[in-house]
């Protein structure tokens, strides 16, 4: 039976965001939808039926969010590495500094913190999944897991080592819990041996995880 075989009723003509049942079957290939997926579908269909949003608007929103990728964050970091004045502007006013690179960070206030030899920053959200989505996109599953959210706060050095990150003995670890209105963004330490690299080459060394702070930037 197709997962989309539910009773519609006679006068229930509406457009679904996915056009055909084959595609829906593919979406639910892993098994029947769970309660939250059913809730989301029900809410979405209700919003369409009531004319609150249209399928096209939802689709446009998905495309917009798909465009918010960690590459945006990487460009910001690489520019901050090569231009100390820019790095300062980024720390002072993230929104304006990102706009200089044509990156729109409308939404919660973003705050840049810099990791150095003296202090390594890593962030989490112990309450839910707060994340600098405007520059990193959708958070990874592990970021939302209870394991990460609890252990990074209590025992950050063990969690970092599980990510392959071993810090020098003289480096402090500072964990930031995104609990309120600001979303944090780590400027990772610039790796050694990168003096001759272009900004584009530098950006390739900046990973999503290095901006969360569970790793350092890649070595060239």
């Amino acid at each position: 039976m197709s997962p989309h075989d539910h009773e519609h009723g006679d006068d229930h003509g509406h457009d679904h965001v996915y056009g055909d049942d084959d595609l829906l079957a593919e979406v639910f290939e892993g098994g029947p939808p769970d309660d939250y997926e059913i809730l989301e579908i029900a809410l979405r269909e209700l919003l369409f039926d009531k004319g609150v949003i249209t399928p096209a608007e939802l689709r446009a929103k998905i495309v917009e969010w798909d465009g918010k990728t960690p590459e945006n964050g990487a460009r910001i970091v690489a520019h901050a590495w090569v231009d100390p004045a820019y790095k300062q502007r980024l720390k002072d006013d993230f929104y304006s500094a990102a706009a200089e690179l044509d990156i729109d960070t409308a939404g919660p206030q973003l705050v840049a913190v810099e990791s150095t030899d003296d202090v390594h920053h890593v962030f989490c959200c112990t309450l839910c999944s707060c994340y600098p989505r405007a520059v990193l996109g959708i958070p990874p599953e592990w970021y939302k897991s209870k394991e990460y959210r609890s252990r990074i706060v209590v025992d950050p050095r063990s969690v970092l080592s599980e990510f392959g990150t071993t810090l020098p003995d003289h480096t402090d670890v500072r964990v930031i819990d995104n609990t309120a209105e600001s979303r944090y963004f780590v400027i990772p330490k610039r790796p050694e041996g990168t003096e001759g690299l272009s900004e584009e080459e530098l950006a390739k060394l900046v990973t999503r995880d290095s901006i969360i702070g569970v790793t350092e930037a890649l070595k060239p």
Binding site: Q109, V111, T126, R157, I176, T179, E181, S182
Partner: protein, 110 residues
């Protein structure tokens, strides 16, 4: 609108204790930090009270959100790391009380 914003009660370097309360509803103060003593590290701006706005009210007046620094070694027994490792939590004005540096020295473990 000045009447819509409560002036911040704390400044950078002040020692504060997080209130040890357990109200029901939408609270953004993590349980693990309630009752603990830390130091104000930054003022992050004034915002509505999310405990009120979550209930559909306007959340006014706005109040300061602070960056509060806690020493990890003072939070967890047998903390695995440096004495100077820190945990930073953003907390809103009404969740904080002024505390003495002696209270900070006394630690959070007892």
């Amino acid at each position: 609108m000045s009447t819509e914003t409560i002036p911040p009660r704390f400044g950078i370097g002040d020692t504060v204790r997080v209130k040890s309360l357990s109200p029901e509803g939408h609270m953004r103060t993590p349980w693990y930090i309630r009752g603990k003593v830390g130091v104000i590290g930054g003022l992050m701006g004034s915002y509505w009270n999310p405990e009120e706005s979550a209930m559909g009210r306007d959340g006014k007046p706005d109040r300061m959100v602070y960056h509060v620094h806690f020493d990890q070694a003072r939070l967890w027994p047998d903390y695995n790391g440096r004495e100077t490792d820190q945990l930073v939590v953003d907390l809103q004005d009404h969740w904080l009380d002024i505390a003495s540096p002696q209270e900070l020295e006394a630690g959070n473990l007892s």
